[in-house]
Symmetry: C2
Subunit: 364 residues, 2 copies
């Protein structure tokens, strides 16, 4: 069975690309046709995903590229670092692969971010294709061109804006996803409701059980609508000068949780889910939203199987972690807050307010 939707992403300088969303895409020749010609394709994946899909993808690509290599990295956010990035570069250079080589990011957001960054900097830029196998990567990493690695002092601090030439989001790959990671992906899906589409938040609430049961029609709609919203936002602000920042709803506290506990302790989506609850609380505390909104968001995040209780790192530590986050200009820490359902904006929030929210959730 195979069914698919296509979203076209429009970018300047001939960098348009397609996101194909559907079932059965991995094993379909059509998915891989029309990509840039090259002497070699390199699949970058991790030890968890490789046994499931690397061979299948390799077979498809072997029909097109004379040579198909597989580079398998360790799994997990804690390996989204220079050492892993270097393994990709070492392979490419060790095999003397030229600047026409096409990279395929087969895995979740970590693989997508690292492969994209490797593509951005190898010989100052080679083509890459995103083949996201997690819900988070399908809704988040497929659009926007953000690539990066972590630095011991901060998440995603070293990276580039770099666009893929195609995204193949095969919903069947979500069948192999652990429940915890499915929930983490739902955090980013939920995010698109409050920041951009009140109706989509209602749809998510109505379809949350189907999504958690991996109903393909529900997943297809969730992925498509998330990508559409993200594409719309990013299309107006590719390099994150302003509007695009709203996509970071929940991320300021989320990143602090991830960095504070050590990368990998909480999944990115878990940290963002919890960060959204606290950002909703801040939105209420600053008089932008009624308390019912905080309750509503917390409920849907809990129903998605996500933690809503932030770790108790202490107020000072949270502030310190958020200050190094790149959304912090000099001065007050800025948060994406909800201004009305479906609309968000950046707000500088006094430290005292932040600590109040953290205290209210037992985290200060």
């Amino acid at each position: 069975m195979s069914a698919s939707d296509t979203i076209r992403i429009h970018l300047p300088d001939d960098r348009n690309y397609e996101i194909r969303i559907g079932t059965g895409l991995m094993d379909q020749a059509h998915s891989w046709q029309g990509l840039p010609k090259a002497g070699a394709a390199v699949i970058v994946t991790n030890v968890t995903v490789a046994p499931l899909y690397a061979q299948r993808l390799r077979e498809q690509l072997s029909a097109i590229y004379p040579r198909v290599d597989v580079v398998t990295l360790p799994d997990g956010e804690q390996h989204k670092d220079w050492a892993s990035l270097n393994r990709i570069c070492d392979h490419l250079l060790g095999e003397a692969l030229d600047r026409k080589t096409v990279l395929f990011a087969l895995g979740g957001g970590v693989i997508g971010d690292m492969t994209g960054f490797a593509a951005a900097i190898y010989m100052r830029g080679v083509s890459f294709v995103q083949v996201p196998t997690t819900l988070l990567a399908q809704v988040d990493s497929s659009v926007g061109g953000k690539t990066a690695i972590n630095h011991p002092l901060g998440k995603n601090m070293i990276g580039a804006f770099y666009q893929p030439v195609r995204v193949i989001a095969d919903l069947d790959t979500l069948d192999s996803l652990p429940d915890r990671e499915l929930s983490a992906g739902l955090a980013e899906v939920i995010k698109y409701g409050p920041i951009a589409d009140a109706g989509f938040l209602t749809w998510i609430e109505d379809n949350l059980d189907a999504l958690r049961a991996r109903d393909k029609r529900a997943l297809a709609h969730a992925v498509r609508r998330s990508c559409e919203i993200k594409a719309q936002v990013v299309g107006q602000d590719e390099r994150e000068q302003g509007l695009r920042a709203i996509l970071n709803f929940g991320h300021t506290i989320g990143h602090a949780i991830e960095a504070g506990l050590g990368y990998g302790a909480w999944l990115h989506g878990e940290a963002v889910g919890c960060g959204m609850v606290l950002a909703a609380d801040l939105s209420h505390r600053l008089g932008l939203m009624p308390s019912q909104f905080v309750d509503r968001l917390r409920t849907v995040i809990e129903r998605a199987g996500l933690p809503v209780q932030p770790p108790r790192l202490g107020g000072e530590r949270y502030l310190q972690l958020m200050r190094v986050d790149k959304k912090a200009d000099a001065g007050a820490i800025r948060f994406v807050l909800i201004e009305e359902l479906g609309r968000a904006g950046l707000h500088a929030v006094p430290d005292a307010r932040i600590v109040e929210t953290l205290a209210a959730y037992g985290a200060a």
Copy 2:
């Protein structure tokens, strides 16, 4: 005394910038006005340049930025690596400097390439200003937005296309340049004649003694004309899809010499100068140019104080080193060859011809 010329570089997406070329620029407030506002400026320089200019630049920038840091790296091509790049990133993150921070590359090509690459990837891109203090950097690194570090397996293999917001080429800084480095810079100046402007080659021949005596008027013309030609070429091909490759005249063999001897043994300009002699010989051997051209180019390169005798690495080793170079697509190695005085093109050259040329110069 102060006199200056300005070249305006036009790029898409509001990335236009100015190259200011002249004397007395470093200590002029005007040089530093109108740059992006930020809470901090970071001067990246090396142990050789820092004692000469870092304090002077810092004083100027302190009038504009609340905070001015200096990061001092080791000197030399052999330090154009991830470790040095990481020292820049470590400083930026360790001091929690935000994405508005402006980097200033104060030094030669190595500092410019590394600082530019750090600016490209720190928080996915911050602004940077080139303050080139070598002739090579003033004529070569100021235009084109190529940034990179070396990899043990190849030169400039990891990098990005990333443009500065301004270039301040103060000719007075060339007074402190060792003769050997001045000659290395002249190699890139000479390059622009055969590839793009026959008249400029004649002008260089007529003014070579003045250039080597560091006559400011001669240097100003050489830097300006080199930047103009490079800007014209790059303007038509920012990402090196085709035309821009002609700027690599002399670089294919040059890079092989640098990599084969170990980075830092020969200066980049020395390797390029010698590489141009061999590429001229190849142009003749393939029937494109008369033998007089080879003699003429060798003579001017020798008069510039540059080596014209390539190191004896052996033909096989040369071929191997050139094959990994990123200008080599799968198959025959491609060289920039001179087609007529002032015009160059990419040519796939059979291995046998390359070895003939190397043998003729005692290098095979």
